[in-house]
């Protein structure tokens, strides 16, 4: 899942080396927290969150086969 998020995000940003993804569990949900370079925030969120929404849709589809729910949070700093 982390690689999938990273693949998608890296293809969209100018600073792929600045992408970090952290995974932790909250109850029955796997939470992924992604941080990107502050100049790249717009590139992973998009107008009215359209890009972030698309990334999440693909993620949910990939999680169909597993038991846990997934969530993706995006931040520009730790």
């Amino acid at each position: 899942m982390v690689t999938l998020i990273k693949t998608i995000a890296s293809a969209l940003v100018d600073h792929p080396e600045a992408i970090h993804i952290r995974e932790h569990q909250e109850n029955n949900t796997l939470v992924y927290t992604m941080t990107v370079h502050e100049d790249d925030m717009g590139k992973v969120i998009g107008k009215e969150g359209r890009i972030a929404k698309s990334i999440r849709s693909v993620l949910y589809a990939a999680a169909t086969h597993q038991q846990k729910r997934v969530r993706l949070d995006i931040q520009d700093e730790w």
């Binding site: 999938l4 293809a11 969209l12 890009i51 698309s54 849709s57 693909v58 990939a62 169909t64």
Partner: protein, 236 residues
Amino acid sequence: MKTVKVTGKTIEEALDTALSQLNTDLSNVEYTVLEQPSKGFLGIIGAKPALLEVSLKEEEEIEEEQQANNSIEKEEQGAMEEEMDKQLPNPTEEAHSFLLQVIEEMKVDVDVTVHETEDELLFHLSGKDIGVMIGKRGRTLDSLQYLVHLVRNRSGDSYKRVIIDAENYRQKRQETLERLAERLANKAVRTGEKVALEPMNARERKIIHTALQYREDVETYSEGTGARRHIVIRPT
């Protein structure tokens, strides 16, 4: 239809081999990636070549005259593109390998065929896990299409429309929307009241507008902004 199977270290390498075997260029073939290449450990152990199935398109698709005219142009274009390739990766190849990588990491069983025209880049998906790839009301398919579009058209020049379809989902969805439009238009006329549809993206709204354009007893317009934008059918 002439088909060859080829291998190569990368998809591009395998494709090149196939093109020289078939003695043709990229615009005359369709191909399916049967096996993704993998670099293996340190590029030595467990390295797996790419396996491609490349087919020559049907003869009718390529008019002979056109071919004669184009081959001269193509050679010139090809030379130019090759020069550009040295600085920039080909955006179509980049979009294609992006899609393949995402599919691989989603761990779904899906095959991809590519069809490229002058202004359009069409990916067709098929396979066992196609339902997952389409998603509810095509949400996954639309999201993937949008992301691949962003990757393909990042550089800003040489814009191409990106379409990702799955087992004719787009065509079927269009027919569903057209039927829905007719039904709701009839309802609007019958009750004499406006009917608001659920929010849809621009492409789907256009299908509805177009479907009802011929009717003189209703008119259609859109209301709301962003993701909430939806069509209203009003009896005239």
